[in-house]
């Protein structure tokens, strides 16, 4: 009996060994999608070529998804192409599993260039030069966008179809009425204003990190703003590409400069613990109470979508938006930190997909979405009259006036850092669990070596 059992076990193991192929081969194009993909070119995933249907995956859902679909209607009617959009809040997980499972969509709209480049490196995508006109893009786009989707060899894999501007400070109308300046020229001036507000008995800054599995990203945005302002875009790029280590003095300076704002006693109600547990979407709401419980809310342009309904209903009459200014003694110029949804093509054999992408990434796209609100065109040439209110036009103006535009660094860093240790590190640092030296050293050691 014993011997039999052992023999059976041996047979099972042998069967398993034989059936499991050793490893995936690395030399062929990993993304040979649902239709075999022996076409010779990379990126043969997605639905069948030229079937009139274009499948798009993206990260935005709900109201944004509705607005996106709205913006597609006219194009779909005109071209006869049917666009099927699937939005998934857990986009990163979703698109990665679909691509690795050999079932990529025709087009994906990436909120993070890091993931886009990661999948491009696995030979799943088609470079934009094969379907877009670089010259036109360079003329219309705000400079700096395509750098984010260009890999080390100089191939560009995606183009923006939406812009987010992060270097903004939202204040309630009461802020200007009480005589505080809407155009502080430097971070130092802003800090002086904050101290003034604090002395009047109110915590000046509205700040919240909580964002479910992504808790901490608000903090990374702050560090990026500080890096850009203290040391300028060149050092910023070196930081992103890991040419300078994460625990270098420059980065630690950025942490300290941010700490002066966020962790100074009385600057944020409840201090570090409250920052970490406060949902980012609700962080700005106390500023709309009467009297305001906080005034200064540094957050991207998408923050308006989270404001209370009465504020959203009368945006121009409820809030002012100002530029998060330069740092005195730091980089000489006005940088803007931002982000965007980047469109990339998986299905290189489908002309419909190419047509859709060409339109999505042009300055023609988005008038309907702009009117619906919550969307900014990455093109400087986009017709600003499409934006629904003065506030949005002001945001677009800030972006196009910038001396230099830089993509969100945490989105560009390897996911282990940019969507991992940098987020959790900000949480640990803000709650006082780790010092600046400790947290930067920890993030540095988590940077993948490969």
């Amino acid at each position: 009996m014993k011997r039999n059992r052992r023999a059976a076990l041996g047979a099972v193991l042998a069967a398993a060994m034989l059936t499991s192929g050793c490893l995936q081969s690395s030399d062929d194009n990993g993304g040979d999608g649902g239709d075999g993909g022996d076409g010779g070119t990379t990126g043969a995933g997605g639905s069948d070529p030229n079937d009139g249907v274009v499948e798009i995956f993206g990260a935005f859902t709900g109201a944004e998804q509705e607005a996106f679909n709205e913006a597609l209607v006219a194009f779909e009617e005109e071209s006869g192409i049917d666009i099927a959009y699937t939005g998934n809040a857990d986009f990163t997980t979703f698109v990665r599993s679909r691509v690795q499972g050999g079932q990529p969509p025709d087009i994906a709209l990436f909120p993070q260039p890091g993931l886009l480049l990661d999948l491009a490196a696995q030979d799943n995508m088609v470079p934009i030069d094969e379907y877009l006109d670089r010259g036109t893009l360079d003329e219309t786009l705000i400079p700096g966008f395509l750098d984010a989707t260009t890999d080390e060899e100089g191939t560009t894999w995606g183009a923006p179809m939406r812009m987010a501007v992060k270097s903004l400070v939202w204040v309630p109308k009461g802020y200007a009425e009480e005589g505080y300046s809407l155009e502080p020229a430097t971070v130092q001036e802003l800090n002086d204003i904050a101290t003034e507000i604090k002395d009047s008995g109110t915590a000046p800054w509205c700040l919240g990190y909580e964002s479910g599995a992504a808790t901490g990203w608000v903090g990374t945005d702050w560090i990026e703003e500080m890096m850009l302002r203290l040391h300028g875009p060149e050092v910023y790029d070196q930081w992103v590409s890991h040419e300078i280590p994460f625990d270098s003095p420059e980065v630690q300076e950025a942490f300290e400069a941010y700490g002066e704002i966020a962790l100074t006693d009385g600057n944020v109600q409840g201090g570090g613990q409250a920052i970490v547990s406060n949902p980012f979407g609700e962080a700005g709401n106390p500023s709309f109470e009467n009297p305001p419980k906080c005034y200064l809310h540094r957050q991207g342009n998408f923050a308006t979508g989270f404001f209370p309904e009465d504020v959203q209903g009368d945006l121009d009459g409820s809030v002012d938006v100002m530029y998060f200014p330069a740092y005195e003694g730091g980089y000489d110029g006005n940088p803007v930190l931002g982000g965007g949804d980047l469109a990339a093509l998986f299905n290189g054999e489908d002309d419909d997909s190419k047509e859709v992408l060409e339109w999505l990434t042009s300055d023609e796209f988005g008038a309907e979405w702009a009117q619906a609100g919550g969307w900014l065109s990455p093109h400087a040439t986009f017709d600003g009259s499409n934006y629904p209110d003065e506030t949005t036009r002001r945001v677009a103006e800030i972006a196009s006036e910038a001396d230099v535009f830089r993509f969100d660094a945490s989105d560009l860093m390897p996911a282990e850092v940019g969507a991992g240790t940098f987020w959790t590190g900000m949480v640990d640092w803000t709650t006082g669990r780790k010092s600046t030296e400790e947290v930067t050293a920890d993030i540095e050691s988590s940077w993948p070596s490969g």
Binding site: A15, T93, T431
Partner: protein, 382 residues
């Protein structure tokens, strides 16, 4: 039956001549039918499923076809396998038949359980895209990672606290409810059992609100802080309080809350199954209630206690939803399963993620063996 047929076979076989067909010799025709039947069945069922994949068949049709082709196909498959086996000489046939009937199930087991397991073990020695072997690098990384060590410690804490607490609480409720009047017992048990109907994610979301924290001076929307501040204390950010792993314990409470009902139902049934005369005998002998419980009742329901304990233990080893939803591993609350999901889906590190699950698998194995052994003992005692 088998032995008599065997005997009959052995005695007649030597003298049997070739021209006459004896019951018990090979039947080539039947074998051919069997083989052809198996091939055709697999081909037809396979084509049906493939066709549904290619053509846009309505959902409901898919379901109908799947049931017909699946159940019918399985029936036909077994029929033809039976034909094939019956075609063999009787002695051989009788020996082969149990294996033949096990084969399809066994094949599925290999395809969906053993194959992935072996593949995962192999991937745990490969790089992040599973294209190149890297030796023990993933394991070295995993063991050198502070976050992983923390996850191990936390998982061990979960193991030490949750299964035992669940059993104790379940047992206590079962015993106490047993002393109540029938209606009161039903109500009490229903209330304790109710959380079982809530999904892990749902429960986690509910408890997030219980533990919610607002800065001092704001309205406390969290139940715990509302009570706490009413008593005159300052609000506490419970989930961030990692001193003595306090926040881990807060998360464990959720799973205990979910599972106590399950433990109670099984243990209650077991307690009711304890023969009344053994209790009476103990009472006559002058034992007090405490003695009766620990020395008469508990030994008789030991099997159920262990079964509940191991079931919860295995669940705890895989605990994911609660931690993922409430803290996502922040504030030093990470556990192995969350770490695995972070590595594979957020960071795309197939190798490290595989190494983590392989270690998790190794950790689960002893509990599995224990359960199987215990099950065998139970069977033997029956």
């Amino acid at each position: 039956m088998t032995t008599s047929a065997d005997k009959a076979d052995t005695t007649t076989a030597p003298s049997a001549g070739p021209p006459e067909r004896k019951p018990g010799s090979a039947q080539p025709m039947k074998a051919v039918i069997g083989v052809v039947g198996i091939v055709i069945t697999i081909a037809v069922v396979g084509t049906a499923f493939q066709a549904m994949n290619i053509y846009d068949v309505p959902r409901i049709m898919q379901a109908v076809v799947a049931i017909i082709a699946g159940v019918g196909g399985a029936g036909l498959l077994f029929y033809f396998i039976n034909q094939l086996v019956e075609a063999l000489p009787l002695r051989l046939s009788l020996k082969v038949i149990p294996y033949a009937f096990l084969l399809p199930a066994f094949g599925l087991l290999v395809a969906f359980l053993i194959y992935p397991t072996v593949q995962t073990i192999i991937y745990s020695f490969a790089n992040d895209t599973s294209t190149e072997f890297v030796g023990f690098d993933n394991y070295t990384y995993v063991f050198g990672d502070e976050e992983f060590r923390r996850a191990i410690v936390n998982t061990l804490l979960w193991l030490a606290i949750v299964p035992a607490s669940t059993v104790v609480i379940g047992l206590a409720v079962a015993v106490l409810a047993d002393k109540l009047a029938p209606t009161a017992e039903k109500v009490a048990k229903s209330l304790i059992f109710l959380p079982m109907a809530i999904s892990m994610v749902g429960a986690a979301t509910i408890w997030r609100f219980v533990y919610a924290f607002e800065p001092e001076g704001e309205t406390q929307i969290g139940l715990l802080n509302a009570v706490w501040t009413t008593l005159g204390f300052d609000p506490v950010s419970w989930l961030q309080t990692s001193t003595l792993n306090f926040n881990d314990v807060l998360l464990m409470v959720i799973l205990i809350w979910l599972q106590a009902g399950f433990a109670m139902v099984l243990l209650s049934a077991a307690i009711k199954g304890v023969p009344e005369d053994t209790l009476e005998a103990a009472r006559i002998d002058g034992a007090n209630e405490r003695k009766i419980f620990f020395q008469v009742v508990v030994p008789q329901i030991r099997g159920t206690i262990i079964a509940v304990f191991i079931t919860v233990l295995l669940m705890v080893l895989k605990v994911f939803d609660i931690v993922y939803v409430i803290t996502n591993g922040n504030f030093e609350t990470n556990v192995i399963a969350v770490l695995f999901v972070q590595q594979i889906f957020q960071f795309g590190e197939n190798g490290r993620a595989s190494a983590i699950v392989v270690l998790l698998l190794l950790a689960v194995l002893p509990a599995l063996f224990w359960q199987v052994r215990h099950f065998r003992e139970e069977e033997a005692n029956r």
